[in-house]
């Protein structure tokens, strides 16, 4: 196997593991919300061990390719907080403050290019996910980005964010995109249509 192909595969695996870590954390936090909407949730399978498996998955992702997977995780965390900007978290900070702080830490640790690439890439996936989940989220009473901005605006913003992330980092864009698509497909087949992954 040529070193380039090996590097691509390792990068894709890093993205898959990072996405799985974020998915597990998200499912753990949204277990009540998903139960209300009767959505499949990994917490039902892993129980209290869900955050442990999430940590393990993130550790494996970081071991595979830290400069790719960790900024993606920081960006996921930052964007995840944006849904609850006014809510106060156990740290004592509001969602917005925590989101900004994590992004700044990411900037200091991984540089502006990696962090902005990750931010736009994750934002693109989040917007696309919200576009797909508009009806299921409506049923649970959750106002996602598609409700706030509109369906077409959400899709166009997702496309724009994806293009900006491609422009920011050509090297990591395709492994990240392929990893995200594979993960989406796996989740789709495993959970029968519920696509939320970031």
């Amino acid at each position: 196997m040529s070193p380039t192909i090996f590097e691509w595969i390792v990068n894709i695996i890093a993205v898959l593991l990072c996405a799985f870590a974020v998915k597990l954390m998200d499912d753990y936090l949204d277990v009540d919300l998903d139960a209300r909407g009767e959505h499949p949730n990994f917490t039902h399978r892993f129980g209290k061990g869900t955050p442990i498996y999430a940590m393990l998955s993130l550790a494996l992702a970081a071991s595979s390719n830290a400069p790719l997977s960790l900024p993606l995780f920081f960006a996921s965390y930052s964007i995840g907080m944006f849904h609850d900007v006014k809510e106060f978290f156990p740290s004592g900070l509001s969602g917005l403050q925590e989101s900004m702080l994590i992004f700044l830490i990411g900037l200091l640790l991984w540089g502006w290019q990696s962090m902005f690439f990750s931010l736009f890439f994750i934002l693109s996936i989040q917007l696309f996910d919200d576009y797909l989940d508009i009806h299921t989220d409506q049923l649970t009473g959750y106002r996602n980005f598609a409700h706030r901005f509109g369906k077409t605006e959400c899709l166009l913003l997702s496309l724009l964010s994806l293009l900006i992330s491609w422009w920011l980092d050509v090297l990591f864009f395709f492994p990240a995109l392929i990893g995200a698509i594979i993960f989406y497909c796996l989740i789709f087949f495993y959970q029968g249509g519920k696509s939320s992954c970031y």
Binding site: E153, L160, L163, W167
Partner: protein, 70 residues
């Protein structure tokens, strides 16, 4: 190439938002004009006048309204 695509999608998004904003204002103005007529038409069809709250039998119609109901 990629930068051109970004600019194109940005213009598309701005154009869409602009069009939607203008369309919403125009739609509201049309609605303001159309809804009273529509409501009056429906109320007259149901046998009362929305404006004076009178039953149609008790009211003396104008020539136009008589034509409308005949």
């Amino acid at each position: 190439m990629l930068l051109n695509l970004i600019i194109m999608v940005s213009i598309l998004l701005i154009g869409y938002l602009w069009g939607k904003h203008d369309g919403r204002i125009e739609g509201y103005q049309r609605g303001v004009v159309h809804v009273p007529l529509l409501l009056r038409e429906q109320s007259l069809e149901q046998g009362y006048c929305l404006l004076c709250k009178e039953e149609l039998e008790n009211k003396s119609f104008s020539n136009n309204e008589k034509t409308y109901f005949s």
